[in-house]
């Protein structure tokens, strides 16, 4: 039926004068867009298969290629966008749920971009991070409420396990399975070198990566894939994943095609079977159940490791976070609606959850109102795109941030949002050996280290500008922020004044 024909979203434009027919595009496109026609001695392209991942463009030695958006359009309609119309056709054809990957790309407001950062002038000196110490080291975890000493001055009050971060940035949970082994190795090695942490996601920990345990957060999610005693003991902290910003309220699904020998062993499931994480943890139907899991995990690891509870930013996030803080969690991780995913139902990714900026502001204030902010650390993600976002997040009240998409960008991701296709041309969101090898961890980890160092430098510069020389004095320091173009209500929720006030 002709109605099933979709004009391609992208067109491959080849400059014939520049093309030397080296065929690198042919060899590098896993979607088989490019072909070489022997008969006519020319290059051809099937635009319909192109996902605009930019692999061919990046590798073309003569810059003969570019990908453009098609100008084929349906009759303009401000209500029925072209995407909605084609989605309806697609679903009428298949009867299926639409899938997408990476973060919500819809044009909702980005509150990071509606906040401005302060700087010192005259009354208070700015500090030059090249001349003076500038500290971004931080600790995550519960802080003691009281401190007592014996006669010799030894501390007698209880203390709690904390994570030490040289830089208030961590790599967010991305499972082995959703991303490749080489991607994991890059993250693990970068975390080790940076003195920060990466997160296994719900995919278990590959046997080769136990050596990075001191810089690993091991995740326990609703499918409990790859969870065993040694796994829990291997990490520096344990994260209970209750939700994910890209798909709040639903679980996960790793198709059997991605479950090869290695993934199967790591996840402890038979090869080729679908790995389905249920929507809820079936042993957590209420907050008191969460408390039991938190303490089970603490018990299993001898109270030596902080427990993180990760939730998606949803409408009632402040009350939920407060409940988590009172349930024995040491760290609360909140994932905003722009957070990434390897695969999520499109409608959920694009319509469920709330912006992380508002969620963070609400949670931080709520925990303070209840006097329990020092009992937990707050880590946010989804999505943190630059050092400026980090400064704003910390000023709103975050202890540290999780970066996922940004880390993948460092590894080559071009945000083509086709992870669910499992044919990632950059060797990240794929398990196909020929594609996985495109990500050389030796290059990957260095690029991650560079990115985080660069952001750390920028955070320090901005802190110095504000006259702050330690990250803890920025945390929750909302006076350092001003809103721009925000309503009274938005300012009230963010707890900041408007620019000019």
């Amino acid at each position: 039926m002709a109605i099933n024909y979709f004009y391609p979203d992208y067109e491959v434009v080849r400059n014939e004068k520049k093309c030397i027919k080296c065929k690198v595009c042919v060899r590098q496109c896993a979607n088989e867009v490019h072909t070489y026609d022997e008969e006519f001695d020319c290059m051809t392209a099937d635009d319909a298969s192109c996902v605009d991942c930019q692999r061919c463009v990046s590798l073309c030695p003569t810059r003969a290629l570019k990908i453009v958006e098609t100008d084929n359009i349906f009759k303009k309609n401000a209500n029925w966008s072209q995407a909605l119309i084609t989605d309806a056709y697609r679903q009428a054809g298949t009867g299926g749920v639409l899938l997408s990957s990476m973060g919500n790309p819809q044009p909702y407001p980005v509150y990071w971009d509606k906040m401005l950062i302060n700087a010192s002038q005259v009354t208070n000196p700015s500090i030059d991070p090249l001349r003076e110490p500038m500290e971004t080291q931080t600790f995550l975890g519960k802080k003691p409420r009281t401190i007592t000493f014996d006669k010799e001055g030894n501390i007698t009050s209880p203390t709690y396990p904390n994570l030490k971060l040289n830089i208030p940035i961590m790599f967010s949970a991305m499972s082995y399975g959703s991303i490749s082994k080489n991607a994991h190795e890059s993250l693990a090695r970068a975390a080790e070198q940076l003195g920060i942490y990466y997160n296994t996601g719900e995919g278990g920990l590959h046997q080769d990566f136990y050596k990075y345990g001191a810089n690993t957060i091991v995740q326990v999610a609703s499918g409990r894939f790859g969870v065993h005693k040694k796994y829990l003991e291997a990490g520096a902290a344990i994260e209970i994943k209750m939700g994910q910003g890209a798909k709040p309220g639903i679980g996960g699904h790793l198709p059997g095609t991605k479950v090869g020998e290695d993934v199967s062993r790591t996840r402890m499931i038979p090869r080729g079977t679908d790995a389905i994480s249920p929507a809820p943890h079936h042993d957590i139907y209420s907050i008191e159940d969460l408390r039991q899991l938190i303490y089970s995990l603490k018990e299993a690891t001898d109270y030596k490791k902080p427990v993180i509870v990760k939730i998606a930013a949803v409408h009632n996030v402040a009350a939920i976070a407060s409940g988590i803080a009172r349930s024995g969690a040491d760290i609360i991780a909140i994932d905003g609606y722009r957070g990434g995913t390897g695969a999520a139902p499109t409608r959920i990714r694009d319509n469920v959850g709330i912006p992380i900026e508002l969620a963070l502001a609400a949670v931080d204030q709520r925990l303070r109102d209840e006097g329990i902010r020092n009992d937990v650390s707050v880590v946010i993600g989804g999505s943190v795109r630059s050092s400026a976002d980090i400064v704003k997040a910390i000023a709103l009240g975050a202890d540290a941030v999780y970066i996922g998409s940004a880390a993948l960008l460092a590894l080559g991701c071009h945000l083509c949002r086709s992870c669910h296709g499992a044919k990632c041309n950059w060797g990240i969101a794929t398990q196909r050996p020929d594609l996985v090898k495109r990500l050389n961890p030796e290059i990957g980890y260095k690029r991650l280290v560079n990115l985080v160092h660069a952001w750390d430098h920028e955070v320090k510069e901005m802190m110095g500008g504000m006259g702050i020389n330690s990250i803890e004095s920025l945390r929750g320091n909302r006076l350092m922020l001003r809103g721009i173009g925000l309503t009274e209500k938005e300012l009230e929720i963010l707890g900041i004044s408007h620019a000019g006030e």
């Binding site: 520049k18 030397i20 060899r27």
Partner: protein
């Protein structure tokens, strides 16, 4: 001395090294000119492709090179560990082509043979190393 090494784990078989090699040896200022002109320069590096494994091969600059031993005109010599060809002496007998166990000596449109000289005279860093997108070809000192 620094040599070119290939790590087959990271070789994608994209063949970009071959094109960068040809371009480097073409004497042209632009890659498009080097390939879309009348003459094409044969690369001194060749990708060997298998099902799951690829790797690039070019002159190993052997410690005891058979090509140099066999050269009837004294055109091939070892200078500072690098085997180079003197175009004025090469008589085009191709003994070296036959004797190289790696198949790394190639012929072109001209009579004289062509081989990898590590790009020393041109850029300092071999073009294949520079052009490899996955650091599968490296130029380094190894014990």
């Amino acid at each position: 001395m620094k040599r070119v090494y290939v790590n087959e784990d990271w070789c994608l078989g994209c063949h970009l090294c071959e094109y960068h090699c040809s371009f480097a040896n073409s004497g042209k200022s632009d890659m498009v000119k080097a390939f879309n002109g009348n003459t094409k320069t044969t690369p001194r590096i060749v990708i060997e492709e298998g099902d799951d494994i690829n790797f690039a091969v070019q002159c190993r600059h052997c410690d005891e090179p058979l090509c140099v031993k066999g050269c009837i005109a004294g055109a091939l010599t070892v200078t500072d560990g690098v085997i180079t060809i003197d175009d004025t002496r090469c008589v085009g007998c191709y003994t070296c082509v036959l004797s190289c166990p790696f198949g790394c000596i190639v012929t072109d449109n001209e009579k004289v043979i062509k081989k990898c000289d590590l790009c020393i005279s041109r850029t300092g860093e071999p073009a294949c190393v520079k052009g490899c997108p996955n650091a599968a070809i490296v130029f380094e000192e190894r014990g």
